[in-house]
């Protein structure tokens, strides 16, 4: 592959990184705190490509000047040193560089959405709470919840407390949960994905919805539900997925950070 092509690919890739980090869509793929690193690495790519392009232009001018000057002489001697180095690097023919086009096209043309219902269904019975079985065999006492009529909570916290809290702090509390709809057969869940680093390590967390008209809800529709966790519902039989009795439901837009971290 020619240097010019490599540089254009580098500009495209750096631009793609800058684009997703500046317009905020990068949270579909990675943790929010990676933003400064993404901006810096995008800028580095642009800078490296710019330096190389400027060098190429300068070298081409030198070459033209040298050729004009030494017409008839042996051209090998007139070759600027830099050109030898640069072309010497092309051995092994960086063919792998073509692959850089894939993320560029994926980001600019397709802009894949955040993971959703398909990913949750794909994980089978695996959820955040069921994963914790290995670490927390016995129930433990969780710190008390803050006071308030309606308490907004992370789904991961709700699932963990429902399964493992010895003080049953969720009982009788009205909670507000935000997540997307997952349909599995006749059951409807509100779900969220928890990520450690990037979407590749996403782990689902969900609660089964009870007692509301859920027929019209499609997969991946974001909703905010208010209601109460059914006491004792997150046990081994339910694979530690709590049931949630819904008293209020409204459709919402996708939140700015689709994952719980």
């Amino acid at each position: 592959m020619r240097r010019e092509t490599q540089n254009i690919l580098l500009v495209l890739l750096g631009g793609a990184l800058l684009k997703i980090s500046l317009n905020g869509t990068f949270v579909r793929y990675v943790r929010p705190d990676l933003k400064p690193l993404l901006i810096v690495s995008g800028a580095v790519m642009l800078a490296l490509a710019a330096v190389s392009i400027v060098q190429d232009i300068r070298r081409a001018r030198q070459l033209a000047a040298a050729e004009a000057e030494s017409a008839g002489h042996e051209h090998g001697a007139a070759e600027p040193v830099g050109a030898c180095e640069a072309h010497g690097h092309q051995h092994g023919g960086a063919r792998s560089a073509w692959m850089l086009l894939l993320p560029v096209l994926a980001i600019f043309l397709i802009a894949p959405p955040a993971l959703g219902a398909d990913s949750v269904n794909r994980s089978g019975d695996l959820t955040v709470a069921s994963q914790q079985r290995q670490d927390q065999v016995v129930k433990t006492s969780f710190p008390p919840l803050p006071a308030g009529d309606v308490l907004p909570m992370r789904l991961a916290d709700v699932a963990t407390r429902a399964a493992w809290d010895a003080t049953n702090s969720l009982d009788g509390r009205t909670l507000q949960l935000t997540g997307f709809v997952v349909r599995e057969g006749s059951e409807v869940y509100v779900a969220r994905l928890v990520i450690n680093c990037c979407a590749a390590d996403a782990m689902p967390v969900k609660a089964k919805l009870l007692g509301a008209d859920l027929g019209a809800l499609a997969n991946d529709q974001w909703i905010t539900v208010t209601g109460q966790v059914k006491p004792g519902s997150a046990d081994q039989a339910s694979n530690y997925v709590p049931a949630f009795t819904v008293t209020g439901l409204k459709r919402v837009d996708t939140p700015s950070d689709p994952y719980e971290t």
């Binding site: 592959m1 020619r2 010019e4 092509t5 490599q6 254009i8 690919l9 580098l10 890739l13 990184l17 997703i20 579909r28 793929y29 990675v30 690193l37 993404l38 810096v40 690495s41 580095v44 790519m45 490296l48 490509a49 330096v51 190389s52 060098q55 051209h75 090998g76 070759e79 050109a83 030898c84 180095e85 640069a86 072309h87 092994g92 960086a94 792998s96 560089a97 073509w98 692959m99 850089l100 086009l101 894939l102 993320p103 096209l105 994926a106 043309l109 397709i110 894949p112 993971l115 219902a117 398909d118 794909r122 089978g124 695996l126 994963q131 450690n196 990037c198 979407a199 590749a200 390590d201």
Partner: protein, 340 residues
């Protein structure tokens, strides 16, 4: 410098005025095609499984890119500003002693495995014993701070993985180096790998820095994309329940993870995140994955065959593979205290 003259000649052989199809035209054509076919492409990909795969692909690539940029920047700096003669001066004369020193030197020289191949080659050119350069080649991508920090970030619940990885990889490098010093033959390494290059001097150092960084980034970035693609395909195609059955079978899990490390060929700066995502496996098979990956994988074999010759790669890769598995298991038993 016949090679330089030849290269200069080939540059001139290309008639600048005549129309030829180069990679530049191919790239432009691809971009135009992609733009024209965007609607069609988006329609084709509007299948949940493909969308999940596309998201995971972009996620792995985007997540690893800053680490790759950091690694190539540092390796470019070393190529430009740390003369190999300095390294040679600080190394002990005897290869048996120099091997562990070179292994530890890998700690200070961060880079991903693709970047450490040219550095090892440069060391050999400066008449460092091949076994010593190879110990460095194996250690540098696996035990440097960038990789260890990435490992710590990827395994927030198991900080002992960092130590286990460090020990396992260092041991792999030293043992392989010693084995090579005892049994290795000079003629296995291609003659072209040992030919001397002109030393960079003065003002051109910044140019060497920029060019090395750019070249490493473009090349290893491509390999990283291949790794991201493989991860995405595997995550979508292989049912999690099936991989979960590995959690009950330790030996099978270790063998599969060692092979997976070779096939996935993920950069050492990003592999910890992939290992972390395979959370249904015990720590020991995942440690094997982290120790084998930087030592031997398909892209590394290709790079080494290109740099040192096929005869070298055919012997070095299987050796490193076996040594890495054994050392990872030893370190796992020592630090993790078993399978976990």
């Amino acid at each position: 410098m016949t090679s330089t003259a030849e290269q200069a000649a080939t540059v001139h052989e290309r008639p600048p005025s005549r129309w030829r199809i180069t990679s530049l035209e191919v790239l432009c054509a691809l971009l135009v095609l992609a733009l024209v076919g965007q609607q069609w492409l988006v329609g084709v990909l509007d299948v949940p499984a493909l969308q999940t795969g596309a998201t995971i692909f972009v996620a792995v690539t985007v997540q690893a890119m800053p680490f790759l940029v950091l690694g190539t920047l540092i390796s470019g700096m070393i190529a430009a500003f740390v003369p190999a003669s300095l390294l040679r001066r600080v190394l002990p004369r005897r290869a048996a002693l120099a091997v562990p020193v070179a292994g530890l030197a890998g700690v200070a020289l961060p880079g991903c495995e693709c970047a450490s191949v040219p550095v090892a080659r440069r060391l050999m050119q400066q008449e460092v014993a091949p076994a010593v350069a190879l110990a460095f080649l194996l250690a540098a991508p696996a035990v440097n701070p960038v990789v260890l920090v990435a490992t710590a970030v990827a395994f927030p619940g198991a900080p002992e993985m960092v130590l286990a990885r460090f020990l396992g990889s260092l041991l792999t490098a030293v043992v392989t180096g010693w084995l090579w010093a005892r049994f290795g033959r000079a003629e296995w390494i291609a003659e072209r790998a040992l030919r001397k290059l002109p030393q960079a001097t003065g003002g051109s150092r910044w140019a060497v820095f920029a060019e090395t960084t750019r070249h490493d980034l473009v090349e290893s970035g491509g390999f990283l994309v291949i790794g991201g693609l493989t991860t995405a395909v595997l995550q979508v195609l292989v049912p999690r329940q099936w991989l979960e059955t590995l959690s009950g079978q330790l030996v099978l899990g270790i063998v599969v993870m060692a092979l997976l490390a070779v096939i996935l060929a993920i950069c050492s700066e990003a592999d910890a995140f992939v290992a972390a995502s395979l959370s249904w496996l015990p720590l020991l098979p995942r440690l094997v994955f982290l120790v084998v990956g930087p030592a031997v994988d398909v892209k590394l074999i290709a790079l080494q065959a290109g740099t040192f010759g096929r005869a070298f790669a055919a012997r070095f890769a299987p050796l490193a593979f076996v040594v890495a598995i054994v050392c990872a298991l030893l370190s796992g038993l020592l630090v993790l205290g078993g399978a976990r």
